[in-house]
Amino acid sequence: MEHIVIIGNGIAGVTAARHIRKLSDKKITIVSAESEYFFSRTALMYVYMGHMKFEHTQPYENHFWEKNRIDLVNGYVAKVNTQEKSLQIDDAPDLSYDKLIIATGSKPNKFGWPGQDLDGVQGLYSKQDLELLEQNAPNNKICKRAVIIGGGLIGIELAEMLRTRDIPVTFLVRETSFWNGVLPKGESEMINEHIREHHIDLRLGASLKEIVSNGNGKVKSVVVKETGEEIECNLVGLTAGVTPNIDFLKDSGIELGRGVKVNRMLETNVKDVYAIGDCAEQHEPIGNRRPIEAVWYTGRMMGETLAQTICGNPMEYKPGQWFNSAKFLDIEYQTYGWVFSEIRKKENETHFHWRHPKEKICITIAFDKDSETVLGINTFGIRLRHEIFDRWLSEKRTIDFIIEHLQDANFDPEFYKRYETMIVSKYNSEFDKSINLKKKNLKRIFQIA
């Protein structure tokens, strides 16, 4: 029986394992040093905040793995020998494989800052990071202030987490506005306001010069590069992005860039070795996507795709329309298609932006200046129906069509206040149009004749 070994029990590896089991009777082994069972990485924050216990982050009951004949090995893969097709594992016997899937995810970026390895300096990615945070910042007596470096999704999550324990947080963001490499101006500014509303000391245009030691190997303070200000703190959160976790592959003969280089079949340069998820790097980026996509959803999609290939149904990784979501403190964010920030925007991309006069709710629709085809949408504080937007993007609908049918796409809970009328009237006055909003139509939404 063919033996499939998967390194890493995150969403990519586990999805691959589940789908291989669905399609075949192959022997499957998952090796992980991080945790005994698969858990949802994105939910770690809720454990620290007390919304959930760690066991609640595990999507499958413990008996699931044995029932589905997926063997779990707890150990750290020290070396991959692609000639002999075997793995050398710390704390566990060596393992030989017929096919190997590398799904080892990421690790927090460290850019060589002075003091970056001091006690009290950490990232937030793994279960061990969470345990460390529980030691470094259990309460505001031990952690009198935390400084977070890097204004991205993990940074704002870490800030939210620490605030639930009343720990004062200073948030150093290198950009002039939060996440404005990704978000357009109006949205980014709204999030700035929301961060400050949560009593987080947000410093824009501020980057890290060095982390100062207290003389005993512990962090004492950080120094801001732009101002030279020294901020005393007990915790430094490094959240300036992540990088593939592939150091153990250095001498394996597998081609590496920033990540494990793969083709569209998710194959590496070595036969029978594949890479999926955060650690995989496409030779050529797919469409507007980045060559390394460190996103939950893409990890899952690569797992589904590779399972087909491995089970005798060779298949390229062909992600559909781009989508993503996040939650910034209390504000939910969803995106479908591509809306670029002013920094990355192409010449023909025009934006229509609407923001609620009082509430922290806004939307941005990006469309092509000439053809008026919609390129993508961002919403904050409004939920959208994935299926509808996916369909509209695939059908290359125009902005007029989408504005007219906006009610069909709304996914907010029943009885919520609706903003389509306000959005449409702003659109009409801004672009000198006279669109009439269509009523929500179940037949259109569910595509029934």
Binding site: H19, A33, E36, S40, T42, A43, Y46, V47, Y48, M49, G50, H51, M52, K53, Q58, P59, E61, D90, K107, S126, K127, Q128, D129, E131, E134, P138, N139, T164, R165, D166, H198, N245, W296, T298, R300, M301, E304, T305, Q308, K318, P319, G320, F323, S325, A326, L329, D330, E332, Q334, R383, R385, H386, E387, D390, F411, P413, E414, K443, I445, F446
Partner: protein
């Protein structure tokens, strides 16, 4: 390697204790409760109206003040910080103390009301006497233990309802739903039946007496609705009495299926029902304690459906026992009644088997078992019943065991007493025959579903954790599959706590409602077709 660490310890540390305001609020509420406790131990209060008002106000203000301090100063949003760190909401010491205290209260209430001061022939004493003035004001009679319970129950729903309204003030679905349960509890369960009691003996009832009737309490939750004494009372109370009896029958056979078809069973379980009302308000802090394991689900299905079989048999036996045999006196006789029940059950069962077989899958076998148990029992009734006896038991015995096991122990002592241990919906999930029947309708014939938003689920587990019915919502959401479950009461909290906007409770066309092939997880269409191949 930073991620290499064998330590498995994950200790949460309580972030903060209560604020000063919250401590004062707890103190005030405890004072209010203290007055009731003193009354139980027969401390005599000179001015009962004054002390009862003081007690109820202190408890209400205590709860409202606490909630105001906890939520009103914060930015609207999900307020679950520290839920699993607090002793009361994570089965800690306070959880167990509260559980034992509540359980004790229910045991005294159901089985030893004399300790609360109930005196059947004479003036009440103790805490029941304290409620006499309010009872006399509403229905003209001295209080009973049930009046005391009803009042406290209503106060709990109102006060904790306000807490819930503050907690979810960003969510209009939750707000409207909470207003609704507060309204139905105060109006329908509390004030209207008490006022109706004032009509007793009045000429518009032809001088008859109406039974105590909470109009929203539908058979089989209200398992005693068709008992002989109640039927007599209905029938002796003129047109109003007759109308109420007809309403009771229409409620379960007509109104319920229509509303459940249109909106799912939530119209009842989380918008109207009193048990649901208490669970959603006073029980909200405990919703996360429900058991999500597949084992618990299995137990749930066996237990709750057995209760349905039990209540159907019991009610049939009770009605059978007081019907006559002479068709010339009254058209409905023992035999026609049994045949009627058998025909109705056969129609329902036949319809489900023929048209909904694919949706029932394995459950169909269990349904068949339940059906045949009932039919054989009905035949048994007919052939083996002697005078006043049904089958082997007296119908009274069957009724008494149901009332003791299900009505008292299950719905009260375990269902509510164990809130802080098993979560707030133990009764609704494992015991309530009404919920089971509505669930059957919801699963097979309803427009309601929780739609999963394509591929946006990140498997975080908030939805499953906060599902009071113990549904593993995530198991469906992460597959891109809609959630159509018999037990879902439509409280909407899974949708509220979802950080990625994945879940939406909605009523839509039956077509494609359960169909898991509608998945859209983000891959291109070819792959999805393959993934969907079963």
């Amino acid at each position: 390697m930073s991620t290499y660490n064998k330590s498995m310890a994950l200790t949460g540390e309580p972030p903060k204790s209560l604020s000063i305001s919250q401590k004062l609020a707890v103190f005030l509420g405890t004072l209010g409760l203290g007055i009731l406790l003193l009354a139980i131990f027969n401390v005599s209060f000179p001015n009962k109206t004054l002390w009862l008002t003081a007690s109820l106000s202190a408890m209400t203000i205590g709860i409202v003040w606490f909630s105001w301090d906890a939520y009103s100063k914060k930015i609207p949003g999900i307020k679950n910080d520290g839920v699993w760190f607090k002793s009361i909401s994570s089965r800690g010491l306070w959880g167990w103390i509260a559980g034992l205290a509540l359980t004790g209260f229910y045991i005294v209430l159901y089985f030893y009301p004399e300790y609360l001061g109930l005196v059947s022939d004479g003036d009440n004493k103790g805490v029941i006497a304290l409620f006499d003035p309010l009872s006399k004001l509403l229905n003209g009679n001295p209080a009973s233990q049930w009046f005391v319970y009803g009042t406290l129950y209503t106060v709990a729903i109102l006060a904790f309802g306000i807490k819930f309204l503050w907690k979810y003030r960003h969510n209009r679905y939750e707000k409207l739903r909470t207003f609704s349960v507060m309204f139905f509890q105060t109006g329908f369960a509390f004030i209207i039946p008490e006022l109706m009691a004032r009509l007793n003996g009045h000429k518009i009832l032809d001088g008859g007496n109406l039974p105590y009737y909470d109009l929203k309490n539908i058979w089989p939750l209200n398992y005693y609705n068709f008992e002989g004494y109640r039927i007599k009372m209905f029938l002796s109370s003129g047109e109003i009495g007759f109308a109420l009896l007809i309403f009771g029958i229409l409620s379960i056979f007509v109104i319920t299926p229509i509303l459940t078809y249109k909106y799912g069973k939530r119209w009842y379980c989380s918008w109207v029902c009193g048990c649901g009302g208490l669970a959603e308000t006073a029980g909200d802090s405990f919703r996360q304690l429900s058991d999500k394991s597949t084992f618990a689900w299995k137990v749930e299905r066996w237990v709750v459906h057995s209760v349905v079989v039990f209540v159907t048999l019991m009610t049939t036996a009770v009605i059978y026992s007081y019907l006559g045999t002479d068709t010339s006196k009254y058209w409905l006789t023992k035999s026609t009644f049994l045949i009627g029940v058998a025909v109705l059950l056969t129609l329902v069962f036949g319809w489900a088997m023929i048209f909904k077989r694919d949706q029932l899958q394995k459950d169909a076998q269990y349904g068949a078992i339940g059906y045949f148990v009932i039919i054989i029992a009905l035949i048994g009734f007919h052939f083996f019943s002697g005078d006043g006896e049904i089958f082997l038991f007296k119908s009274g015995t069957l009724r008494k065991s149901y009332s003791f096991l299900i009505g008292s122990i299950f719905s009260g002592v375990i269902g509510t007493g164990f809130y802080p241990i098993f979560g707030s919906r133990v009764w609704c999930r494992f015991g309530c025959p009404m919920a089971a029947i509505l669930g059957f309708q919801q699963k097979l014939l309803s427009r309601f579903r929780i739609t999963t938003n394509g591929g946006q689920c990140i498997s975080c587990g908030n939805c499953s954790t906060y599902c009071e019915m113990g549904i593993d919502v995530r198991a469906y959401a992460q597959k891109g599959e809609n959630i159509v479950r018999a037990s879902c009461v439509g409280c909407g909290i899974c949708s509220a706590v979802c950080p990625r906007g994945v879940l939406k409770l909605e009523n839509g066309p039956l077509e494609g409602r359960i169909d898991s092939n509608q998945v859209l997880l983000g891959n291109d269409v070819d792959l999805m077709t393959l993934v969907n191949k079963k």
